[in-house]
Point group: C2
Chain length 227, copies 2
Amino acid sequence: MNMKSDSAMRPKILVTVDVVLLTVDLESSLSDGLRVGLIRRDAAPYKGALALPGGYVHPEEDENTAAAACRVLKTKAGKAVRYLEQLATFSGPSRDPRGWSVSVCYVALEDRETMKQWPADLLARVDALPPLAFDHATLIGAAVERLRNKASYSALPVFLLPDTFTLSELQDLYGRLLGTPLDKSSFRRKVRELGFVEEVPGAFKGGQNRPAQLYRAKEMTTFDRTI
Amino acid sequence: MNMKSDSAMRPKILVTVDVVLLTVDLESSLSDGLRVGLIRRDAAPYKGALALPGGYVHPEEDENTAAAACRVLKTKAGKAVRYLEQLATFSGPSRDPRGWSVSVCYVALEDRETMKQWPADLLARVDALPPLAFDHATLIGAAVERLRNKASYSALPVFLLPDTFTLSELQDLYGRLLGTPLDKSSFRRKVRELGFVEEVPGAFKGGQNRPAQLYRAKEMTTFDRTI
């Protein structure tokens, strides 16, 4: 059949997914505290090198590339996904020594507490990355740029905090992502205007003298599993 | 060799690109004037149906998927690209009857004058799309959403205008994309603040009585051909 022979003639392209799993360590005084979760490759190419969690798309089981990204995080890192967003697709003849390849790259966000399960030596500062396999340093750069851009107009960064947090922690987070300390009163006014957090009734954090009200995200940004 | 047999065992995934070519007809009083350039498919599947310009990635000649998108526009539509941006990648077992497929989708922008070369019956209103092949209506919806979102914070829409334009035309365009008529003086203040257009010295448009100053984009947004 025509379609079949056309398909048989086309050279094979490698189709993979990679996940840039980001977290922020609010206790860190080193730069912005942004960290990325890496793995150590156990097979060629780049065997033994640090890399993003990633792998081939499995057409017999993956519903789409987002599902492949979730599967990869689960199997390579034992990690369920809290927030996942498609970043961009990287492609070309040279980025993978096995051949012409396409990698659909995702950004996942996680809070620091949960990421304490990640091996500490595989949680790298994004501003001081170790040598990485493939073009993974480029993918991380693009993911961090996306996160910083979104920090200026969306509630997305709340996925980097635990389920409940104080407004000071939220302000610290946005200040780190935007690269500049924020004014307390204008930040709080902005948060009220955007209306994406709400008080957790009766929940406070801190000492007896001035306990801080705890907040939670009001309505988490929906997370599109179709792409 | 191990790598080779692993690669031979993996089921084949179809890798394609699709381009959502958008323009705005500022003379149209029908809705927002947004139009998308379509082609009529000359081969199965969906032979004879309307579709986005698209096609297989050719690893032997394409440097990356962006280059494939440029090639597709050139060969399927005789069209050089003025502005191209990667939108998102759509994938899954059901979107193409030939098998599990990945389509890296791009948005291209063009001014209405140039698009007059496109066959008029293949330039569809985005708010009244005809039946389309594959999931192409979904791709168009995502492209229009991206364009509208960017209208609120970037100079990107200038790619929908000819090289020179009046401030009234620019205001009309942004108003159409944002879905609301804009106030003249606050729009002009905003444009001055953003500083992305400049006067074309001595160039005016319109009648003898009140000719309007022509403007041009100061520095076109760079266009990343690496993804």
